[in-house]
């Protein structure tokens, strides 16, 4: 082949490639209140979760496509850790999916950097009338609705009543029980369990438990300005309690706790019937019951009755967000509307993403739920809660990794709870300041 021909061919290829990219770039910038396109549109939708969730979501997508034949939705799903790595890279590459399942930890980090659409601009295609103002507020930052809450959850204690019965330990009255009660009952189970079963599965690896502990003390992890506000002695008390459980054998040895905490839900102490009491989001009851095969029950957190204000709060399990750079914001908003407001979709999704934050939908599906899902819903309706904490500030999305690290150090006795509290606060504040 004569070389000059190759060079020309290469040039042609290069020019057409560049032109293609330039044209593609021109396509962006439409706004969310415009008419739906008559042309076929493809939306990319990404979420994290289990296989069961993928299956339910796939069926909802099919339902949506049947109702809107010109819109195709392609799903991209991953497990939790890989999800955030890949979302960060696709956003950086200007290739973010149109509809994004978003978490409270990351909402501000993405929204305050301009990566998410203000859903308030999409009212024409997306109604939020059936949502509580309080629930909606959890997805708003500076008055802009960057995320529509999908479900609500409360951090709770889950107890294996089969184990309590087997060891002759009384079920506590969760309207009045204290942290000392949890210690005492846990010790009874551990004694009777003879090394194979421990009373409590130690926690301290997610923000739910810490936030609740702080709120019982009248404190909060962050103040309104988004700075770390938890007093060191409150944090130290939290770790001291966990360290005591481990030292006394009420919780498993540190290395077992750490290993289970890094595994999946069905490898946890509660799911494997190796611990009687554990802390989980109330909506995880069904998965836990399936994995353990035992009778499980949701309890309020210990110490709620003794504290001035209860620590329990509604945590938005996740949000629907739309990429600010979506080329089809109107269609994306329409799809979110379908996910959030359509009763047929809700009948498929049920409580997989939390007890629906949409109150009309919540009532509509109440009759269709399994016993454990109904228990989770009743728990949500019966537990006294106070106003939710501030959304995790920008820069603090890594708080659980930091928390996990210091909990490990405390449990292994490599640092004292007091020192860990000081270091944790300083490190988290540095992350917020740097962002």
């Amino acid at each position: 082949m004569p070389p000059h021909l190759t060079r020309r061919a290469a040039l042609v290829a290069l020019v057409s490639l560049t032109a293609g990219t330039a044209l593609a770039a021109c396509g962006g910038g439409s706004d969310a209140s415009q008419d739906l396109s008559d042309e076929p549109v493809t939306l990319r939708f990404t979420w994290w979760g289990s296989d069961a969730r993928h299956e339910r979501t796939r069926r909802v997508i099919e339902l949506f496509q049947k109702a809107h034949p010109t819109i195709t939705v392609t799903g991209e799903f991953k497990e939790w850790n890989g999800y955030w790595d890949s979302l960060a890279t696709t956003v950086a590459a200007n290739d973010a999916p149109d509809v994004i399942q978003m978490d409270e930890l990351y909402l501000a980090s993405y929204a305050e950097r301009g990566a998410l659409l203000d859903l308030g601009t999409a009212r024409r295609h997306l109604t939020t009338a059936d949502f509580d103002a309080d629930a909606l507020a959890t997805g708003a930052i500076d008055g802009k609705q960057y995320g529509l809450p999908v479900g609500l959850a409360i951090y709770s204690v889950v107890v294996n009543t089969d184990l309590l019965t087997r060891y002759g330990v009384a079920l506590p009255d969760d309207a009045t029980w204290t942290w000392e009660d949890l210690t005492r009952l846990g010790a009874q189970v551990s004694r009777a369990g003879g090394g194979t079963v421990t009373g409590v599965q130690a926690w301290g690896f997610d923000t739910g438990g810490l936030t609740l502990w702080a709120r019982q003390a009248g404190a909060a992890l962050y103040d309104d300005a988004g700075d770390v506000a938890i007093p060191p002695q409150v944090l130290a008390g939290y770790w001291q309690y966990l360290a005591d459980l481990t030292r006394q054998g009420i919780a498993p040895p540190a290395s077992v706790t750490v290993e289970r905490a890094s595994g999946a839900l069905d490898q946890s102490g509660l799911a494997t019937n190796a611990s009687a009491f554990a802390t989980w989001w109330n909506t995880q009851l069904t998965s836990l019951a399936t994995a353990s095969g035992s009778q499980l029950r949701l309890l309020r957190f210990p110490g709620e009755a003794q504290s001035a204000t209860p620590g329990a709060y509604y945590k938005p399990s996740m949000f629907w967000s739309v990429s600010a750079r979506s080329r089809h914001p109107a269609e994306a908003a329409l799809f979110v509307d379908f996910l959030a407001n359509n009763e047929e979709a809700a009948a498929i999704l049920q409580t997989d993403r939390g007890v629906p934050a949409n109150t009309k939908i919540r009532n509509a599906i109440a009759g269709q739920l399994s016993p454990t899902d109904r228990a989770a819903l009743e728990y949500l309706d019966s537990v006294p809660v106070t106003a939710p904490p501030r959304v995790t500030p920008k820069g603090a999305s890594g708080v659980e990794a930091i928390l996990k690290r210091y909990t490990e150090q405390v449990l292994f006795g490599r640092t004292t709870p007091e020192q860990a509290a000081k270091d944790f606060i300083a490190e988290l504040q540095r992350e917020i300041d740097a962002a």
């Binding site: 950086a92 040895p253 540190a254 290395s255 750490v258 890594g398 990794a401 690290r405 490990e408 292994f412």
Partner: protein, 308 residues
């Protein structure tokens, strides 16, 4: 050594006088690789150098911050922890790995039956060692209910969660790296084959013990190969990522005991929206590897013996 001889021959002046036409064909055939190098490797490397001087959160455009990232490294305790972990890992695992490789190469060199089979069997782990599957397997083997503890249980020793205990987690990764001794072993084996048997025969006639033969004949004549393996494996160990990422679930835990430098820079870049600093860390790692390699080359003058 024969590979070095090949290189010298390639650089011989005759190569330059080849016809221009042939070069064009060569470049044409090389072009896919060359495009890959420029777009996928060289381009990002150059960009990461520039990003090292910025504050870049992946979503908004990078902001130039001069040497801020460098000053930040000085007071970054997790960085210091990660460098400590990485250097410990390199200094412990590479000598152990090379010792195993050399030991087995010498065993296999003694005219074993079925040599090809053993060579492949020992080589296999080095192909698998940095794969996700093996890291997952490692997690199982050294878990609280894993194979190691079951074996220990048989002999009446109480095990522990090797991977979830900060005191032992890094050791399991060292064992994993040592286990992949196959690649250097095959190179050692080739090197051993090049040592003339008559040297050993002469030494045996003179009454030299096996140990003396090893010290006086094998080590000096093999030293270029040992050097080659040492340089390569040190660089390789510094770049380890997959094992620690999978075994610790991406956290470098428990309590940062397996936080390799590569893992830390990955966390900064992709978990903490801190790509500017992560890019600077990547260049720091490159500089550290360069220093280790330079020291290696300098030290080589004193112990590496070239026969030719």
């Amino acid at each position: 050594m024969s590979a070095l001889g090949e290189l010298r021959r390639l650089r011989a002046p005759g190569a330059r006088t080849r016809r221009h036409r042939d070069n064009r064909a060569a470049f044409l055939f090389l072009s896919p690789w060359f495009a890959g190098l420029l777009l996928i490797t060289a381009g990002p490397i150059a960009v990461s150098f520039l990003l090292g001087f910025t504050d870049y959160n992946l979503i908004q455009p990078p902001a130039f911050t001069g040497l801020d990232n460098v000053t930040r490294m000085l007071s970054d305790e997790r960085l210091h922890q990660s460098l400590g972990v990485t250097v410990t890992y390199v200094l412990v695992s590479v000598p152990l790995q090379l010792a195993c490789a050399l030991g087995l190469a010498m065993l296999l060199d003694r005219g074993l039956r079925g040599l090809a089979f053993y060579r492949s069997a020992f080589y296999l782990p080095s192909l698998l060692g940095s794969s996700v599957a093996i890291a997952v397997l490692w997690r199982q083997i050294f878990g609280a209910d894993g194979l190691v503890n079951q074996l220990l249980d048989v002999v009446g020793v109480a095990g522990r969660g090797w991977i979830s205990d900060p005191g032992t987690a890094l050791s399991t990764l060292v064992v994993l790296n040592v286990w992949t001794f196959g690649a250097p072993m095959v190179i050692f084996l080739a090197g051993l084959r090049q040592i003339p048997v008559m040297y050993y025969e002469a030494a045996a006639v003179d009454g030299a013990s096996r140990w003396t033969q090893f010290r006086r004949i094998t080590v000096p004549l093999l030293s270029p190969i040992i050097f080659f393996n040492l340089v390569l494996q040190i660089i390789h160990a510094f770049q380890s990522f997959t094992q620690a990422f999978v075994v610790s679930g991406g956290s470098g835990g428990p309590s940062d005991s397996t936080l390799f430098a590569t893992l830390y820079l990955y966390q900064r870049g992709f978990n903490n929206f801190d790509m500017g600093y992560a890019s600077a860390l990547a260049w720091l790692l490159l500089a550290i590897i360069a220093v280790f390699t330079a020291v290696n080359f300098w030290a080589a003058k004193y112990w590496v013996f070239y026969d030719d």
